[in-house]
Structures are given as C-alpha cells and as structure tokens.
C-alpha cells in the first residue's frame, strides 16, 4: 500500500481518430521526478496490424503490461491463427486489469490510449490507473488534456470530423510541438503510431522544433 507511487514516468499521450484510422503520439522521454532521466524510451506499442497503444505514467508498470500484452498476442498467433487482439478487446482487458489492481491497492500507475481498427471502424479508447475508461474520437492524457485537446477539438470541428491520414499526422506533430514548448516534462523526440485498413506502423523517432509561432497561434492572452 505504501509503495503506491510512480517512480520513472512518461508524460502525455495524445490520440485522434481520422477518416479511416487512428493516430497516437507520445514523446520518448522518461523522467525521474523532474529530472529528464531516460531519453530514448518508446511509449508507443504496435500490438498487431490492427491495434496500437500508447502509455503514460510509470514506465516499469508500462513494461510489465507490455509484456503481458505481447504474450497475449503471441498466444493468439499460435492458437487462434488469424484472430488478432482487437483494440476493443485490448481496451476492455486493460480496464479489468487496472481495476483489479486498484481494488487491491496495488495500482499499475499508468494511463493508456488504445487505438486501432475494430470491425472496419476506427476505435480509440482511454484507461487509467483506476480502471476509468471511455471511448472517444479525441483522447489525451496528462498535460495533453490541457494543451492538446482544445487544439484537436477545434481542428476536428472545423473539418466536421472529416480528417485525412496526413492531416491527422500533421495535427499530432503540431500538438507534440505545443507540449514540448509548455510541458516541462515533455521532450522533443517523439513517435507517432498510425493504424488504418492497410495495417499499423510507428513513425519515428521524430524531432519537434522550437517553433514558437505555433505556440503563439494558440495563445488566448
């Protein structure tokens, strides 16, 4: 019980549904408190060709769950050929694991963004350390809820929810740039995971620039 606190932590994860797929982005920094500790840690995970996930919070807890998910996918490949772990199934499973651990007062201190193609349609879901879960077309964790969500919502509304793959990737880059400028535990090296009908891939590591014009554009004062 007294051991329930995060040690080495990742920062925000942001995700967005576009016309026929999903993007998730996160930087590669893992911090020890306020110290930038590990610079090159991927927090995005390609589960299979239909499912991707991103994780913030305690990095050890992420690695623990990463291993479990990896094994689940391997079991499926071995025993149920052609039946991949779908994003909806992974989201639901994470919900139960996280809730069970919080009920034992031994939480896995993580927040997840799970995305992918589920029965032909884009799927994006959130799970946190309590097992709080929801599905939405725009999701962010941590500081991203303040910095990235308003920018993504505005973009989404301006386009009436019709966003191409390239626009979605561009928007992720912009939001990561905003986070890099304003979140002291964010980093300029980041990755973007994209999934659509053609499969999943992780782009990067990419590098965000110190672009303050981008930041000023979104200032309200």
């Amino acid at each position: 019980m007294s051991n329930s606190y995060p040690v080495n932590t990742g920062s925000s994860v942001i995700g967005l549904c576009f016309d026929d797929g999903v993007v998730i982005a996160a930087d590669t920094l893992v911090s020890y408190g306020k110290m930038a500790r590990f610079f090159d840690c991927s927090r995005l995970y390609k589960v299979n060709q239909t499912t991707i996930a991103g994780c913030g919070g305690d990095y050890a807890d992420y690695q623990f769950l990463h291993n479990l998910i990896e094994q689940k996918q391997i079991d499926r490949e071995a025993n149920e050929q052609g039946v991949d772990l779908s994003p909806r199934a992974l989201h639901s499973w994470l919900t139960r694991v996280q809730y069970n651990r919080r009920s034992k007062f031994e939480p896995l201190w993580t927040s997840w963004v799970v995305g992918g193609i589920d029965e032909g349609k884009p799927f994006l879901g959130f799970v946190d350390k309590l097992g709080t879960a929801y599905k939405d077309s725009i999701i962010a964790t941590g500081f991203g809820t303040y910095m990235a969500v308003p920018v993504m919502r505005k973009f989404y509304d301006d386009k009436n929810g019709r966003i191409t793959r390239d626009e979605a990737i561009g928007l992720m880059k912009k939001c990561i740039g905003l986070l890099f400028a304003r979140d002291c535990s964010a980093h300029n090296m980041y990755e973007i995971a994209v999934v659509d009908a053609n499969g999943a891939e992780i782009l990067g590591p990419l590098r965000a620039t110190h672009d303050w014009s981008n930041v000023k554009e979104h200032r309200t004062s």
Binding site: S4, K34, F105, P107, G131, T132, Y134, D136
Partner: protein, 235 residues
C-alpha cells in the same frame, strides 16, 4: 552517479515517494446526473453524457444508461470505474438469471439484486449513485434509487448525481406537489414527463458544471425501449 541520484532523490523526498506526487486514492468523482419519472404504463429515465474529473472533461459522449431488459434500464454515475465494473457484473448476473429461469428478470427482482450487489461491497463500496427504472408486473412505471451501499426505495420520480440536488426539488414541485393548493393537474403523460426531464436537465446544466453536453433519455413502455438524445450546454 548513483550517489548523486540518491541525494537528489532525498532532497525531494515526501514520505516514501522520491518525488512530490499525490498518494493513491482508489476513488474518483467523475460527475454525471440521472433522473427518472414513472407514470401509468411508462417510465422515462435520463442521464447526461458528460464525464469529468475536477474541472476537466474526459468525454462528452459517455452514456450512463444501460438497457438491461426490454422493461428495465439502469443508470449509474459517480466513480466511473465503479460504475463500469458494477454494470458489467450486473450484466453477468442477469445472463445467469436468464439461462437458469428461461425468462428475463423482472424490474422488481432487478431492483433487489442491485441492492444486494451494492451491499456485498459494504466495506469497500462501489462509489456510485444508481437508479433502476422499469415497468413492474402490472406495467406500471417504477423508479428505484440507491445509495452507494445499497439502501433503496421505490419512488414515482427521482434525481441523483452531481445535479441531483438541483433537479429533485424541481420534480418535487411539478410532480410531488406537496402542500400546493392549485387544482390537481391532469394525469401525467409520457410526453409531459419528457418535457419535465428536458427542462430539468437544461436548468441544471446552466448552474452545475458537472452536468452538460447531451441528455440521453430512454423511454420504456410495454412496446419496448426507445431512445432520444437532447442537446445540452457544451461549455
């Protein structure tokens, strides 16, 4: 290097944690409001679709109502992870009931089951507000409300959740009519009940930040369940 790390960690130490972080608390208040009105041959239940933590909106499209059978709806809000777990568990129990008895569960049996399931967690409760709305054996509307540990009562109308304390007095005024001397209104219709629900949620959304985005209404009649969505303030 390791020694430097240690002293750096000690400098920031709060309790057991090497960093300044909040301790673990297993509950969250994710807001949400529910209200239900029963009548002769119908019941309507409404819930907003806003999901929050503090001043932050998680989602504007999180449904708090679940259809259990053709005659029974449950609404659950409060600590969202508990709501999800509770309704999931309830679904499983109802499937067992269906397979063992070869018929869907009645509204009043559901109402008792919900109470028992909440009380089973008496010493680590599901931190949720619950309303069960449905038709009873005589096709009369029934509304049951619960506290987190399963204390329950049947009502004609009931509001719960963040804006429950705003909506309940309004419903008391237009439906309860305690001590009012004006002539008795006509018998409550389904349409009038819907208008009361929409008015109640619109007013609540004006005054309570935890309530807003959309009002989802489920209308239960002997013919089945209908659903309606109504826009609320989105700010």
């Amino acid at each position: 290097m390791f020694k430097e790390m240690q002293s750096l960690a000690n400098a920031q130490m709060t309790d057991a944690s090497p960093h300044k972080v909040a301790g673990f608390y297993p509950y969250a208040d994710n807001g949400g409001t529910l209200a239900a009105i029963a009548g002769d041959g119908f019941v309507v239940i409404g819930g907003d679709t806003r999901l929050t933590t503090g001043y932050q909106i998680y989602s504007r499209e999180a449904s708090k109502l679940t259809k259990l059978t053709d005659k029974t709806i449950i609404g659950s809000c409060g600590c969202w992870c508990d709501s999800l777990t509770f309704t999931k568990g309830l679904h499983i129990r109802l499937q067992y009931y269906l397979y063992e008895n070869n018929k869907p569960i009645s509204t009043n049996a559901t109402a008792q089951l919900v109470s028992n399931m909440l009380y089973q967690k008496r010493f680590f409760p599901y931190y949720v507000s619950t309303i069960v709305a449905g038709l009873d054996a005589d096709n009369q509307g029934a509304v049951y409300s619960y506290d987190p540990v399963g204390s329950t009562e049947r009502h004609r109308y009931r509001a719960q959740g963040t804006a429950g304390s705003l909506i309940q007095p309004f419903l008391d005024c237009v439906l309860g009519r305690g001590n009012q001397t004006a002539p008795e209104p006509e018998k409550l219709t389904k349409e009038q009940a819907m208008i009361y629900l929409k008015d109640a949620f619109m007013s609540a959304a004006e005054r309570e930040i935890g309530c807003g985005d959309f009002l989802q209404i489920m209308i239960v009649t002997p013919q089945g369940v209908e659903e309606e969505r109504f826009k609320l303030r989105k700010d």
